[in-house]
């Protein structure tokens, strides 16, 4: 371990925290110097979010020392943390849904002017401060969260998986802004499961494993594999895009045929075919209509024009139950929309099995237990805190949203950024799982904000720009540069 810089702005040592039977942190330490961006890394459930909550006074540690600017910290709540110059952006949006953006700022005692400045700096100049939080997409919420934190001018900014729900264009903005903070002499603690981001802006990485700080490394080329090894406690093969034989577009009737789909103002005219056995990627910048597309296909929103055919029959869904009956199941982008936070992992996973009135009677408990544990096994959910889903770590919550449909059985899976907040090992397992499902005959629509995933999991990708499909790219050609260019509408060509 490199010694702590003596001028550390934040110096935490020996931090421990137990929740009932779960020892979330055993002996965690972290040092951050002025002008540094330090990555806090670790697998799902390693204790990163718990650490951030302890540093900012949401949780009380069982043991440990925290020094801020050389003085013993007395932070006991988030307001106290703010006085000490520590400002967090937590993993889940912490805005009140039924208030407007402006009201949320007022409640948090944050000035409007700097907030506006940061919002436009972060790529959302058009954000209406009077908009209700409830009506904003997840990506905008995250930007609001960050802009609000920046407006407070923190000495230490703590970012917990802020970028996980952001599309590439916004991620770039965020990275620039965060780096600029450090270059101006402030400090940042940065949590993310994406190595490209770490490599782009971080100076050092502190690695947590099972609640222990196991390493503190400078970021330099080639360090990725070492970090992964430390995180997971063993070597893991790098995710390489296996050479899948390029599948010709099947000639049979598509599982899902979408023609001229339109709704609201964003989704104007989308058409594509999705075949059995195929994983079709969807690539788009923020707000190009992808949210609406998934909502319409899942029966959660009505289309104003266009048709959806499933196995050759035209369908229109008035309720998610209709879509599910037609075999279309959605993993939504915001897990808060999918989970029963106060219920157990088991009840969350089993919910679709009982949804229909004819399944309201006695539950076949043995059968259910078997299905649920198989799904937990497949997705490697850490169930130490399974009594209530909200006690799971963010990545494990995300896995529950996928597990639910695995347990129910999959025909057409609509995945909206399914690997959001999931660690590198499990991500690889999810790509493999998606491929397996396709090989077994499922059709998968896979929106991702992480462009590298197209090559890793998909056969082809449709690129949506301005509510229309502007390009269809084979996985083998889907390097990030090509996808980016298409996503910005620079290679407009008529879809096949």
């Amino acid at each position: 371990m490199t010694a702590a810089p003596s001028d550390a702005v934040l110096d935490a040592t020996g931090v421990a925290k137990r929740f009932g039977a779960v020892q979330a942190l055993k002996n965690a330490s972290l040092q951050v110097g002025a002008g540094q961006v330090v990555a806090l890394m670790g697998a799902n459930g390693a204790g990163k979010s718990t650490f951030v909550k302890i540093l900012t006074g949401v949780l009380k540690p069982d043991a440990g020392h925290v020094k801020i600017k050389g003085r013993e910290s007395t932070v006991a709540n988030p307001a106290g943390a703010r006085k000490w110059g520590l400002v967090p952006v937590y993993q889940e949006p912490s805005l009140i849904p039924d208030l407007s953006v402006a009201d949320n700022l007022r409640l948090g005692d944050t000035a409007m002017e700097p907030f506006r400045h940061w919002v436009s700096e972060l790529g959302l100049p058009g954000l209406d401060p009077e908009a209700m939080i409830r009506s904003l997409p997840l990506a905008s919420l995250r930007i609001v969260d960050l802009a609000r934190a920046l407006a407070i001018e923190p000495d230490v900014l703590l970012l917990d998986e802020l970028t996980a729900a952001l599309p590439t264009d916004l991620v770039d903005r965020v990275l620039k802004v965060v780096r600029a903070q450090a270059d101006a002499g402030r400090s940042v603690i940065y949590i993310s499961h994406r190595f490209t981001e770490i490599a782009a802006i971080c100076d050092r990485a502190t690695v947590l494993r099972d609640g222990l700080t196991v390493g503190d490394l400078p970021i330099e080329p080639g360090i990725e594999e070492r970090i992964v090894e430390m995180m997971l406690g063993g070597a893991v093969a790098a995710a390489v895009a296996e050479e899948r034989p390029v599948k010709p577009v099947p000639a049979d009737m598509p599982r899902l045929r979408v023609r001229g789909l339109k709704t609201g103002t964003r989704l104007t005219d989308v058409s594509f075919d999705l075949h059995k056995g195929e994983v079709l990627g969807v690539v788009a910048l923020e707000g190009q209509g992808q949210d609406e597309l998934f909502d319409v296909l899942a029966g959660n929103r009505k289309a104003s024009a266009g048709t959806v055919e499933v196995d050759g029959t035209a369908r229109s869904f008035h309720h998610p139950a209709d879509a599910i009956a037609a075999g279309l199941t959605l993993v939504p982008g915001d897990r808060a929309h999918a989970l029963f936070m106060s219920r157990s992992v088991r009840e969350n996973i089993a919910a679709p099995l009982l949804a229909r009135a004819r399944n309201w009677g006695a539950i076949r408990m043995g059968d259910e237990a078997a299905k649920v544990s198989a799904a937990i096994e497949t997705l490697q959910i850490d169930t130490r805190a399974q009594g209530e889903v909200r006690r799971l770590s963010g990545g494990n919550q995300q896995k529950v949203t996928i597990a639910r449909w695995i347990a129910k059985g999959v025909q057409t899976l609509l995945l909206f950024d399914p690997t959001r907040g999931i660690d590198i090992r499990t991500k690889r397992q999810i790509y493999a799982l998606v491929r397996d499902l396709a090989d077994q005959g499922a059709a998968v629509l896979f929106y991702t904000s992480e462009l590298a995933e197209i090559r890793l999991a998909c056969d082809r990708a449709v690129v949506i720009f301005n509510g229309r499909v502007v390009d269809v790219i084979d996985a083998k050609d889907a390097d990030e540069a090509t996808l980016m260019r298409a996503a910005y509408g620079l290679t407009e060509k008529a879809p096949a």
């Binding site: 009932g20 043991a63 020392h65 029963f340 106060s342 219920r343 399944n359 309201w360």
Partner: protein
């Protein structure tokens, strides 16, 4: 921030209450009984126990309605009315039509109240508090009209209801014959039937329930109808217990039924709780009432104390369970 604090006993109690909500409740019940025994030595007896159970049963059954609706984040403030109507119709119709048709009409009327509630909550999306209060008022009005224009030829309280309501076998109240299977069914259903699970799911996150394919309106409609049916049956039992047909028979039970569910650990915000706790909650309220009665405080003071104690217990429970 140098601390090596182990969780305080209070924290630990809070956690215990989240994980095993029944234990501290039963502890409180035992404590109350002990206080009662100290205040009035010699009051505790088999007879006293039987009597307490007997009085607690109708309360617990109405509190079942609150528990089930509260699990979804709702409430049913028409249960007292539904019970009263069922009781009044049974007693006044029985002399004219005979007992079975009278009971059928009585329960059907309760079901109608439930259907109206369900329709309002499920389809018109009226808040359950407003909806059930509204139907309660309307139904009470209808009962008054009925009482004025239908000349009752007399009042008949069916014998088997009196047996059920006031009789004892082996020292225990006969109403247990109804209550034990009822409680077993509710407790089974809340965890092990699809319908029960969905109540929790809707209370925890209605939008997520929808996304998993639940047609929420179907659940609401069924739930409020079921609630009124339970209330109707409770009305019949209560009729047998009180042995008079009155226009406000079970109305005083409305708020205690909510209190019993809340004290029993069911969250008014939905998604958490269960009937097991509610039964203990109903017993706690009953013991509390009998304690206050025995203390020979005037009626006004008794009510004030009763209200204060309910508030204190509820606030304490919420504080302890939220903290962990």
């Amino acid at each position: 921030m140098t601390m090596t604090d182990t969780p305080t006993p209070l924290n630990r109690l809070g956690r215990l209450m989240v994980d095993q909500p029944l234990l501290p409740l039963i502890g409180l019940l035992i404590l109350l009984v002990a206080i009662l025994a100290v205040l009035n030595p010699g009051v505790l007896s088999m007879f006293w126990a039987g009597n307490t159970i007997k009085i607690a049963i109708p309360l617990a059954m109405l509190a079942a309605c609150q528990t089930l609706t509260m699990l979804t984040g709702g409430i049913d403030l028409s249960v007292g009315t539904a019970a009263t109507i069922a009781a009044y119709l049974t007693a006044t119709l029985a002399p004219m039509t005979g007992v079975p048709p009278a009971i059928a009409i009585a329960l059907a009327s309760a079901v109608v109240i439930g259907l109206v509630n369900g329709f309002g909550v499920a389809i018109c999306r009226v808040h359950p508090l407003i909806m059930t209060l509204g139907t309660a008022l309307i139904a009470t009005g209808c009962l008054l009209v009925y009482q004025r224009y239908v000349i009752a030829t007399g009042v008949l309280i069916p014998d088997f209801l009196i047996w059920l309501g006031t009789g004892r076998s082996f020292g225990l109240p006969n109403s247990l014959v109804l209550f034990i299977p009822f409680a077993a069914l509710v407790i089974w259903a809340q965890r092990r039937s699809g319908f029960g699970r969905l109540l929790y799911a809707i209370g925890a996150n209605e939008a997520a329930a929808r996304l998993s394919g639940v047609r929420v309106w179907q659940v609401h409609l069924t739930l409020y109808t079921l609630s009124s049916l339970i209330a109707g049956v409770t009305g019949l039992l209560y009729l047998g217990q009180i042995k008079t047909a009155s226009l406000s028979l079970a109305l005083p039970l409305d708020l205690p039924s909510v209190a019993a569910a809340v004290i029993g650990g069911t969250s008014i915000f939905g998604g958490r709780g269960g009937f097991g706790g509610t039964i203990v909650g109903a017993l706690i309220l009953t013991v509390l009432t009998s304690m206050l009665t025995l203390m020979q405080i005037p009626e006004g003071g008794r009510r004030i104390l009763f209200g204060l104690i309910i508030l204190a217990v509820t606030a304490l429970f919420i504080r302890l369970t939220e903290r962990s």
